[in-house]
C-alpha cells in the first residue's frame, strides 16, 4: 500500500463574499508527482495557503503525512517543503546564508546542516553561485535555490505553486524534469500547481481546479482518453470549455427558476395586486 503524503478533504474557503474553494478534495501519494491544473483565479494559491497553514480552512480537513493540520499543526508543517509562487528568498543574503537560515528554522543541528547544504548544492548544481548574493542570480537559479531550500529538511511532501512562472522555456523544462527526478529518487510527494500544460506528462496524476471546484481528476492519459483529446493542452482547454458550458447552463436555469418563482410568489405578483387595488 502506498502512503498518503497529503490528503485534502472537502476544503472550503471564502474571501468575504467570494467563494474561492467550494469543497476541494485531493490526495498526493508518497513519491508521486501530482499536477494541480487551473487557470488564473481558479483557487490554486488559496489552496496552497491553506495547506501551508497561512490561511485557516472554513470547513473540511487537511492531513499531511498522517498529521492533521488543525490539531497536529507543527508535525504537519514539519513534513512539508514549499516553493511559493513569488520568490521568497532573502535578496541581501547569499545562497549559503539563505539555506542556513532555512535549516535553523527547521531546527537542524549545525553539523547536519553543513552536510545537507553541501549535498543540496551538488544535487541542484549550484556550486558556481553558492557564495553569491541571491539578488545577483538569474530567475532559474533562484528557483533552484528555492527548491533546494524546500527539500533541505527532507520533507515527505513538496508544494510548488506555479514555480516556473517567469522562466524561459529551456529553464522551465530543465526545472520540471529536475523536480520529477527528485520526486522519484527521494520518494517525495509533489503537488505542482500550474496553468502551463506542457509541464504535465501523460503518466502524471492531474487534478483540474476550476472556480474553486475539482472538475476532473485521474492520470493525464486517462483524462485524454475520457475526453478524447490528443494532448494535455487540448485536454485542459476541453475541460475548461465543458465547464464553461455547464456554468452557463446552470446560470440560465437559475435565472429561469428565479423568473418562475417571481410569477408564483406574492412579491412576484405584487405589481398585479397593486394594480388591482387601484
Amino acid at each position: 500500500m502506498t502512503a498518503t503524503a497529503l490528503s485534502v478533504d472537502n476544503v472550503t474557503y471564502s474571501y468575504k463574499h467570494i467563494e474561492a474553494l467550494k469543497g476541494v478534495s485531493l490526495d498526493v501519494e508518497a513519491g508521486r508527482f501530482v499536477a494541480l491544473l487551473g487557470s488564473n483565479g481558479a483557487g490554486k494559491t488559496t489552496l496552497y495557503s491553506i495547506i501551508t497553514g497561512l490561511y485557516r480552512t472554513h470547513s473540511g480537513a487537511v492531513t499531511i503525512q498522517g498529521h492533521s493540520l488543525e490539531s497536529d499543526t507543527l508535525k504537519a508543517l514539519a513534513a512539508i517543503g514549499v516553493v511559493f509562487q513569488k520568490s521568497t528568498l532573502d535578496m541581501d543574503l547569499t545562497v549559503l546564508q539563505n539555506l542556513s537560515y532555512a535549516a535553523d528554522l527547521h531546527g537542524m543541528p549545525r553539523k547536519e546542516t553543513r552536510c545537507k547544504i553541501d549535498t543540496a548544492i551538488e544535487l541542484h548544481n549550484m556550486q558556481q553561485y553558492a557564495k553569491r548574493k541571491v539578488a545577483a542570480l538569474s530567475g532559474g537559479q533562484k528557483r533552484r535555490v528555492e527548491l533546494a531550500r524546500a527539500l533541505l529538511h527532507s520533507p515527505s511532501l513538496v508544494l510548488l505553486d506555479e514555480p516556473t512562472v517567469g522562466l524561459d522555456s529551456s529553464s522551465r523544462a530543465d526545472f520540471v524534469s529536475h523536480v520529477k527526478l527528485l520526486c522519484r529518487s527521494q520518494n517525495t510527494g509533489v503537488l505542482w500547481a500550474t496553468h502551463l500544460m506542457d509541464e504535465v506528462d501523460p503518466t502524471d496524476s492531474v487534478f483540474v481546479l476550476n472556480k474553486g471546484l475539482i472538475v476532473a481528476n485521474g492520470t493525464a492519459a486517462e483524462l485524454m482518453t475520457q475526453y478524447n483529446q490528443p494532448d494535455v493542452t487540448s485536454l485542459f482547454n476541453e475541460i475548461n470549455h465543458a465547464q464553461k458550458a455547464i456554468d452557463q447552463n446552470s446560470r440560465i436555469s437559475q435565472e429561469r427558476n428565479i423568473d418562475r418563482n417571481r410569477e408564483y410568489t406574492p412579491e412576484g405578483s405584487g405589481k398585479i395586486d397593486k394594480g388591482a387595488d387601484r
Binding site: 468575504k16 490561511y55 507543527l74 514549499v82 511559493f84 521568497t88 541581501d92 535553523d104 531546527g107
Partner: protein, 270 residues
C-alpha cells in the same frame, strides 16, 4: 515545542537580522546620525535656554545634553521598532514572511524571535551611541552602562511589539508614511524625551496628561533611571504590561483565522 528547535530558530532569525543589518551599512549610519544630530545640534542650542532643575534620578544640576541623552536612546529604540515593522511589511510583500510563518513552531514564538532579533540589533546601536555621547561629556556612572541593559531590553521589546502590531495593520509599504506621522512623531514629542514632565505641566495640563499616559515616556524614564543605577518601578510595570498587550495583539493580527488584515484584496490572487 522542542526547546532545542526553538533556540536554533531564534539563532537563525537573529543571524539573518544581523547579516542584513551589516549588509545595509547605510541603515546603521542613518540610525545613528538621527540621535547624534539631536544631541550635537538641538541639545547644544537648547543648553543655554533650558535649565534643568534637580529631578530624579539626577542628584545634581545637569546640562540639557545629559537630560536629553536617555530620550535619544529611546528614540533609537523607537525608530528601530518601526524599522522592524517596516521590514515585516516588506517581508510580507516580498513573500519571505511566508517562509517564517510556515516554520513548524508556534506563531507567537516565531513573532517573538523576530522581535528579539530586532531588539538585539537596536541595542548594538544604542551602545555605539552611548560611546559617542561619552566623548561629548555625557558620562553616566560606569555601572549604569551595564544596568541599563535590562531596561533597554524591556523598552526595546515594548516598542518592537508595537512595531509588530502596526505591521499586522499596515497592508502596504506605501501606507507607512502614516505610521511616521501618527505614531512615531506624536509618541516622541509627547513624552519626557525632550522636556521634563513638570515643564510640560507648566505649559499645558492636557499635554502633561497625554505625556503621562504615553508608554514611550515610561520607556524613556525606565532607561533614564537605569542609566543612573535606579529603578523606575511604575515605568517598568507600564512598559512590561504594554509589551505584553502589544505582542498579544500582534499575535492575533498574524493569526490566519482572526487576523486584522482584511482579505478582500487577496481574492485576486486566488
Amino acid at each position: 515545542m522542542n526547546a532545542t528547535h526553538a533556540l536554533r530558530c531564534l539563532r537563525g532569525v537573529a543571524t539573518r537580522e544581523a547579516l542584513r543589518f551589516i549588509g545595509q551599512r547605510g541603515r546603521f549610519f542613518s540610525a545613528l546620525v538621527r540621535p547624534l544630530i539631536w544631541l550635537f545640534v538641538f541639545a547644544a542650542g537648547f543648553r543655554s535656554v533650558l535649565g534643568i532643575s534637580i529631578i530624579a534620578p539626577y542628584e545634581t544640576y545637569i546640562v540639557y545634553d545629559e537630560y536629553i541623552a536617555p530620550g535619544l536612546v529611546g528614540m533609537i529604540l523607537l525608530f528601530n521598532g518601526m524599522q522592524s515593522s517596516l521590514s515585516m511589511v516588506y517581508d510580507r510583500e516580498m513573500g519571505s514572511m511566508s517562509v517564517l510563518l510556515t516554520t513548524p513552531l508556534p506563531r507567537w514564538y516565531l513573532l517573538l524571535c523576530k522581535l528579539l532579533a530586532g531588539v538585539f540589533v537596536a541595542i548594538l546601536q544604542v551602545y555605539v551611541f552611548l560611546l559617542i555621547a561619552w566623548f561629548w561629556h555625557i558620562r553616566p556612572p560606569a555601572m549604569g552602562y551595564l544596568l541599563v541593559l535590562p531596561a533597554l531590553c524591556f523598552a526595546g521589546l515594548m516598542l518592537g511589539a508595537l512595531g509588530l502590531l502596526l505591521s499586522s495593520l499596515v497592508r502596504q509599504l506605501e501606507n507607512f508614511a502614516g505610521v511616521m506621522n501618527f505614531v512615531i512623531f506624536p509618541m516622541f514629542f509627547a513624552s519626557s524625551a525632550l522636556y521634563p514632565l513638570w515643564k510640560m505641566q507648566e505649559s499645558s495640563v492636557l499635554l502633561y496628561w497625554i505625556c503621562v499616559f504615553n508608554p514611550f515616556t515610561h520607556a524613556v524614564e525606565l532607561i533614564r533611571f537605569a542609566l543612573y543605577g535606579k529603578v523606575a518601578w511604575l515605568s517598568l510595570g507600564v512598559v512590561g504590561i504594554c509589551a505584553l498587550v502589544f505582542l498579544g495583539a500582534a499575535v492575533v493580527g498574524y493569526d490566519p483565522s482572526r487576523g486584522f488584515l482584511p482579505k478582500k484584496n487577496m481574492a485576486a490572487n486566488a
